[in-house]
């Protein structure tokens, strides 16, 4: 009874100290996943790797564990022989954050990053022997953040140097996910040229899509690091990170604010948003619904009595011993012999 009392006291106290947001318990999702994909290889595409690693870092900082982040990186920039800073990837000219730091778990690397693997991952059609770390083990309560970066064109996104995924294929994969109850809501972010063409063919519910540029526009890089000799981050991702850096797991920033990140005079391309499939109002959705991993906790102010289980007599029920016998063969041929 003592324990009960303490818990109730604590909860009562907390509810006085915090104003619980209205929609705190109304998100409807029970877990968060992130699929972060860099689709392009080669040294001069350093910035795409930096993009995806930066998002990875933010997502992890906001609480999604590595086990629920699928990180796909098509090329190893850190160990590229051309890298003058071996074993590092930076996303800023000041080089204060090594986004390829201590604790990066890359799930799909190099030539494993293919359209087939990506679609199989989304739809859950991977071979049974695939390790858990390479599977997207989501359910109908999962909020998924999908972030893609690479080189795109009108209606496709190039994977590696050899294949591409079309917007139709991606739309179908998401529909399959919906039908298989693999997600609750999806925040889909794509940072490529003509990015908005990627979400045009979506038709499944509960998807909020953001693209770094409209059809006919290029997504541009943000700045160059002359010490490394490559462009190191794209504009949209740079400003998105700028926003995410100020987000804490407990902060109440909403998705609407995130959608306004990178206006045209910063991005030089128009950020495209598709809201019609998303059933909630982005103004009331906290960013942490997708970028963080806050489990909804139902709070109660009423006292509940937790009854301790009564001590029962645990005597083993004695089962009567059965006798086994052979059943007659079917069809019975004994009478003919």
């Amino acid at each position: 009874m003592n324990l009960n009392f303490i818990i109730t006291f604590c909860i009562f106290h907390l509810s006085c100290a915090w104003e619980i947001p209205d929609n705190f318990a109304k998100t409807g999702h029970s877990n968060n996943w992130a699929v972060l994909v860099d689709t392009s290889r080669f040294w001069f595409n350093y910035r795409h790797v930096a993009n995806v690693l930066s998002i990875y870092r933010s997502v992890k900082r906001l609480g999604i564990p590595d086990s629920q982040i699928i990180l796909m990186i098509a090329d190893d920039m850190a160990c590229n022989p051309r890298n003058p800073r071996p074993a590092t990837v930076f996303n800023n000219i000041k080089q204060h954050i090594n986004v390829y730091g201590d604790d990066v778990e890359v799930d799909y690397r190099g030539y494993e990053v293919t359209v087939e693997n990506f679609v199989r991952l989304l739809t859950g059609r991977l071979a049974p022997e695939t390790p858990r770390s390479k599977k997207l083990l989501t359910d109908e309560g999962s909020n998924i953040l999908i972030y893609l970066t690479g080189h795109g064109g009108n209606g496709f996104l190039k994977f590696q140097d050899s294949e591409e995924i079309t917007s139709k294929e991606l739309g179908d994969a998401l529909e399959q996910m919906w039908q298989k109850r693999r997600y609750h809501e999806i925040l889909f972010i794509v940072d490529t040229c003509q990015a908005s063409s990627m979400y045009e063919k979506f038709y499944s519910p509960n998807i909020l899509a953001v693209a770094s540029s409209l059809v006919g526009e290029d997504s541009l890089s943000h700045h160059l690091d002359p010490a490394i000799g490559v462009y190191i981050i794209d504009r949209y991702t740079y400003y998105a990170l700028d926003f995410l850096e100020k987000v804490e797991p407990s902060s109440s920033k909403t998705l609407e604010e995130f959608l306004k990140v990178c206006p045209k005079h910063y991005c030089l391309s128009t950020v495209g948003v598709r809201k019609d499939l998303f059933r909630r109002d982005p103004e009331k959705v906290p960013v942490t619904d997708f970028f963080g991993s806050l489990r909804p906790i139902e709070l109660t102010t009423s006292i509940t009595n937790v009854l301790l289980p009564a001590k029962t007599n645990k005597t083993k029920a004695i089962e009567p011993e059965r006798k086994y016998s052979y059943v007659a063969q079917f069809p019975d041929v004994s009478k003919f012999t």
């Binding site: 022989p81 003058p84 002359p226 000799g229």
Partner: protein
């Protein structure tokens, strides 16, 4: 129903039009081709150069080198060493310096057995390899310098050797190389580089048993690109980028752009064909300047002789250029500027290091009217096609006329006069063509016999080849007069048609390999072919006689001699006329020998192609002009 072979089937409107306007049309095509070439130099017809290759990342990285002091130190040591051994390359010193930098240093010996006299020359190349520290040794970049002894007739290259050593020292300390870098110092100009490349790839490019390249003791990966340095002074005020390679091959335009851009970025004047980018306000002057640059490129490409050591790399699919640095005479800048020159080389090599594949994005066929504009093959080939188109129009209309005349004759002589008389005499025609070509091939292979005979008479190689060619020329000129043959007009015309078609085809084939050569040949030969008087002798006027006499000057040997004479005159116009003639005469002798030797050592096909294709065509026309056409 019109059959394909029915002579009347083709006499439609177009053919009638062609027959009527044949000569004006031919000249119109020729002139429009020439005008097209002239227009190409107009800035509005040129596109600005740009980088096609994403991976190059030109000039994005901070340059870290400061080679001024190290270059100066190496330079003073090298000059001392060269003074001690004025005639040979200081092998030991160079190898020691490269060894001190902890490079993999190797020497390569090669032998040249001079084809016409049993003489042997030997030479040595020295090269050091920096292995890419974090990559497999599968690809390499070459930085090369030709060594020239103090008494060499060519401009000094000691500063570039000093820069090469200083740059090697810088590169050794860097950890970002993804390709091996080969630092190569070659001897005996192009012989050294040819022998080294042959040895590196294990092939023999020229005739067997002439240049014996041996084997290399050490190799790096497959060579992607090469930069050849020829810096003539320790104070470089301008850098010229040379691109023309063996047989008129060019490096990828991206490499040329890269070099020009990097030079401009470091604030040194860049030039092409030793001509700076000058912008005149006067439009005509501007055009004229660009046109001259273009013309210089065309003429130097047409010879098929590499303008520097870079030219021999192209055969192996290696993109290569030469950076030639000059000092402006009279300008006394207080300091050297190898700081900048070093940074140019650094940034070029750093960009090449970024490459993921061989150069393939940009043009391989182009012409350049200035350092920052280009003319693509899609534009310039039209001029040649227009010019050559005239030949085919002429051949076709001649053929049609023959058909028409046969058919009308047939109608007149219904009296059965078997086709033996009015048809073509296939035997005469084929033998004529066959003999002309056999002559061509024989002359192409004659130099060995000429030198052999010459040696018996104690002639020098130059003399025996030159006089041999003179004799051949005279023989071919008087040959048709000696056998004063009679030929029917029809046969003569058919030979003419075949020769025209062959000329057009040969020119087009040459254009595929060396556009400039085909263009120059077409500009010279095509108009003359249009006006050649192929007609029965009784219609000949004095003017016609003169025209056919003029054909002599288009004999390949004659025209080569004329061009060299003009070239000598242009270069030494201040000398007196006899002296110019003497100089020209010596130059012609040497040019013949060089073109033959080049074809043996390097595989330059200028001599072989002109003699085995252009000569027979010339000879066919000459035979017809001289024979008695009935």
């Amino acid at each position: 129903m019109g059959l394909l072979t029915d002579p009347r089937a083709g006499s439609g409107k177009i053919i009638k039009f062609l027959l009527k306007w044949e000569r004006p049309l031919c000249f119109f095509l020729y002139i429009s081709g020439i005008v097209w070439i002239l227009l190409l130099a107009l800035p509005i017809f040129n596109d600005n150069t740009y980088f096609s290759e994403n991976a190059l990342l030109p000039g994005l990285v901070t340059k870290e080198s400061n080679l001024e002091q190290t270059t100066k130190q190496y330079y003073t040591h090298l000059i001392n060493e060269m003074k001690r051994y004025p005639d040979v390359m200081p092998y030991a010193w160079l190898a020691a310096k490269l060894n001190q930098l902890h490079l993999d240093v190797f020497t390569h010996n090669f032998t040249l057995i001079y084809p016409f006299q049993e003489q042997q020359f030997t030479g040595q190349n020295i090269y050091g390899i920096i292995r890419a520290p974090r990559a497999a040794s599968t690809e390499a970049i070459v930085v090369s310098v030709p060594f020239r002894p103090i008494h060499s007739i060519y401009l000094d290259t000691a500063p570039s050797i000093a820069l090469l050593l200083a740059f090697a020292k810088f590169c050794r300390k860097q950890k970002y190389w993804a390709k091996d870098i080969i630092f190569l110092i070659t001897e005996h100009e192009q012989l050294g580089i040819q022998a080294w490349l042959d040895a590196y790839h294990g092939v023999t490019s020229g005739n067997g048993g002439v240049l014996i390249s041996g084997d290399l003791p050490g190799r790096a990966g497959s060579i992607q690109t090469a930069i050849n340095l020829e810096l003539h002074s320790m104070k470089i005020t301008s850098i010229d980028v040379k691109i023309e390679g063996l047989n008129g091959r060019l490096p990828n335009l991206d490499l040329f752009n890269l070099a020009q851009n990097m030079i401009a970025k470091e604030g040194i004047r860049q030039s092409f064909q030793r001509r700076f980018d000058v912008k005149y306000k006067n439009k005509f002057k501007n055009w004229w300047y660009h046109f001259n640059t273009l013309l210089m490129m065309i003429t130097s490409q047409a010879t098929g002789i590499p303008t520097g050591n870079h030219g021999l790399f192209h055969r192996f699919g290696i993109e290569a250029i030469t950076l030639e640095g000059f000092e402006k005479p009279g300008q006394q800048s207080s300091d050297g500027n190898f700081y900048q020159v070093g940074r140019i080389v650094e940034s070029i090599v750093r960009s090449l290091n970024n490459l993921l594949e061989r150069f393939h994005q940009s043009y391989f066929f182009y012409l350049l009217p200035s350092t920052d504009t280009y003319i693509s093959i899609g534009l310039y080939i039209r001029s040649l096609v227009l010019i050559i188109g005239g030949i085919f129009v002429k051949a076709f209309s001649m053929w049609q006329r023959l058909q028409v005349s046969t058919s009308t004759e047939d109608k007149k002589n219904i009296v059965v006069k078997q086709s033996k008389d009015d048809g073509f005499d296939i035997g005469i025609i084929t033998s004529e063509i066959l003999w002309a070509h056999i002559c061509g091939v024989t002359i192409a292979t004659s130099p060995f016999a000429l030198t052999y005979v010459g040696k018996k008479m104690d002639f020098r190689t130059e003399d025996s080849i030159y006089f041999g060619f003179v004799v051949i020329t005279i023989l071919t000129l008087i040959w048709p007069f000696y056998f004063r043959r009679q030929m029917k007009y029809k046969n003569a015309a058919l030979i003419c048609v075949i020769a025209l078609v062959e000329l057009g085809t040969v020119l087009m084939c040459i254009a595929m390999h060396n556009f400039s050569l085909a263009l120059l040949a077409a500009v010279i030969y095509v108009p003359y072919v249009f006006i050649l008087p192929i007609m029965p002798k009784q219609n000949f006027t004095k003017f016609h006689r003169m025209l056919s006499f003029g054909w002599i000057s288009l004999h390949p040997f004659m025209i080569a001699s004329l061009i060299i004479m003009c070239y000598t005159y242009v270069n030494f116009s201040s000398d007196s006329l006899p002296l110019i003639l003497f100089r020209g005469y010596r130059a012609i002798k040497q040019a013949f020998v060089f073109s033959i030797v080049d074809s043996m050592i390097y595989g330059n096909w200028l001599y072989n192609v002109t003699i085995s294709t252009m000569f027979p065509i010339w000879f066919l026309f000459w035979n017809i002009l001289c024979s008695n056409i009935l």
